[in-house]
């Protein structure tokens, strides 16, 4: 079977977020780009599945929508062990636009992994949209996935607990934390091999985005913290009751 992992190219999680002067665009100056953390965990789990003894996984493909500068993010995915990469050569305009582009290249996969959201626009949409465009089943909030003798066991979180599911293929799994412990650090051998792995550049199709970002705002600066002495827990509770009115 073949696995596809969707890869988002996002600013490093420690980035100080800035916008252009009229607050209409993210200021990418000096930003370091990384694989979206959830996508990286998804890829890690896909690699683990492939490496298990009775694995029936032939290949793991990673795909994104982005310009040429996002290829280093894809090559990082190749360096940790993905077999090939596909980049749809376009600026990601909105989730529907991205999902529509990915739908063109997400053909012939039994299992597709998407991160539950991306740490930039937190849209939580591309995975579900892609599943609908491909008319395949999806499971969201997936925190565990096992392949046993070709059958798929999924752990998902529901509001108020967790469930184990038996699912058929093809399937799009929208994964969250817990799916894998920690992302992998690429070994140098992997970094070298990434150079020679196949990276296909696909031409985008014509799609109109459905939404557009008009402007950004930074959160209002917080008033300074009101400190209470260590032995004044009672006073703190009073303040929460009477001043903040949150108790």
């Amino acid at each position: 079977m073949k696995i596809l992992v969707l890869i988002g190219n996002v600013p490093d999680t420690t980035t100080k977020v800035k916008f252009n002067a009229d607050k209409t665009a993210f200021d990418a100056n000096g930003v370091q780009w990384i694989i979206n953390p959830w996508d990286e965990l998804a890829l890690t789990r896909a690699l683990e599945l492939k490496e298990t003894a009775d694995s029936c996984i032939e290949s793991i493909v990673v795909a994104n929508v982005g310009r040429v500068e996002t290829e280093s993010t894809l090559r990082k995915a190749l360096a940790v062990g993905a077999d090939e990469a596909i980049r749809v050569d376009a600026d990601p305009k909105d989730a529907f636009y991205v999902a529509s582009q990915l739908a063109q290249v997400a053909i012939g996969f039994d299992l597709i992994f998407a991160g539950i959201e991306a740490s930039d626009y937190n849209g939580a949409a591309v995975g579900g949209m892609l599943a609908e465009l491909l008319a395949i089943q999806s499971v969201s909030a997936v925190s565990g996935i096992q392949l046993e003798n070709g059958s798929l066991k999924i752990n998902r979180e529901i509001d108020g607990g967790s469930q184990t599911l038996a699912m058929n293929l093809p399937l799009l799994a929208i994964v969250q934390k817990g799916i894998a412990k920690e992302p992998r650090i690429p070994a140098m051998r992997g970094i070298m091999m990434a150079r020679s792995k196949k990276l296909t550049v696909a031409t985008p199709i014509e799609v109109e985005p459905l939404t557009s970002i008009l402007s950004f705002e930074l959160p209002a600066p917080k008033a300074s913290c009101k400190l209470v002495a260590e032995d004044q827990a009672k006073e703190l509770i009073r303040l929460l009751h009477e001043e903040a009115k949150v108790l």
Partner: protein, 322 residues
Amino acid sequence: MSVLLYTENWDGKFKKVSFELASYAAKLAAEMGVSISAISLGPVEEEELTKLGNYGIPVVLSASCSNYTSLDNQAIAHAVASAAQQIGATVVILAQSNLGKAIAPRLSVKLKAGMVSGVQGLPVSLNPFTVKKMVFTGKAFANISIQTAIKVITLAPNSFGVFENPVKLTIGKFDAGLSDTDFTTRIESTNKVTGKVLLTDADIVVSAGRGLKAPENWGPIEELAALLGAGIACSRPVSDEGWRSHNEHVGQTGKIISPNLYFAFGISGAIQHLGGVSASKCIVAINKDKDAPIFEAADYGIVGDVFKVLPQLIEAVKESKS
């Protein structure tokens, strides 16, 4: 023209988030001057459905088929989409919950509707239809306009509030025309968290970090949470160490929550942690290091030893309750 809201239920019961959603939908429909309906999928007793009327919902379409309890993404998306088409909905509202996040994008494609998740409060403008949402995991907000005739949004929890507004409720039967074979999600087992408040549903969250030093020190945290009816959360190092389940991890790569009150015990407040909690209405930090960044984000704070402060807080809460 109409507003449709999808009210999730858990074992046939609505939770606070459903009533917040109802309050929100009622207000939005009033502002837009359009009618409003709710859709409920799965077995929910009439008495429970009637509660939606308290929050301004005049019509609920109920499909009581028990197949829906498998939370099958394709089937639920299909059912909500057909309800939307049936009533001619122009805005479809879901909760920003695990299920809402799974269904909304599928609806977006089905209805050719632009979608925005995690919307904060009412639209900034109705024409163009523009909503505000958190981006960069709490570090900024974006105003996003939806260009399509139909709009799909999920509402960030605690971003609107619950408002009573009793109206007479009519319950209509709904059949999405699905057969058993359309439900392909097979549940093998369910592990319900019982007796605990859901983290994403909690008004108050009590959270602790590495400052608690060891997993066996969580007793007072659990006690305080029980007293306050609060959810329990933790920082990333704590879940990475396996001291607490990753279900409790809040932060940039864990759960993103927005309770009314967030207690942070022994959490230094790394930027990744703040990303997951900065939308909380009130943050209280207890940390021995007065320079810990959590105090920059906090509204109230105690610089001190968590092991000294915790028992006192527990006492103070008990006292205030009696």
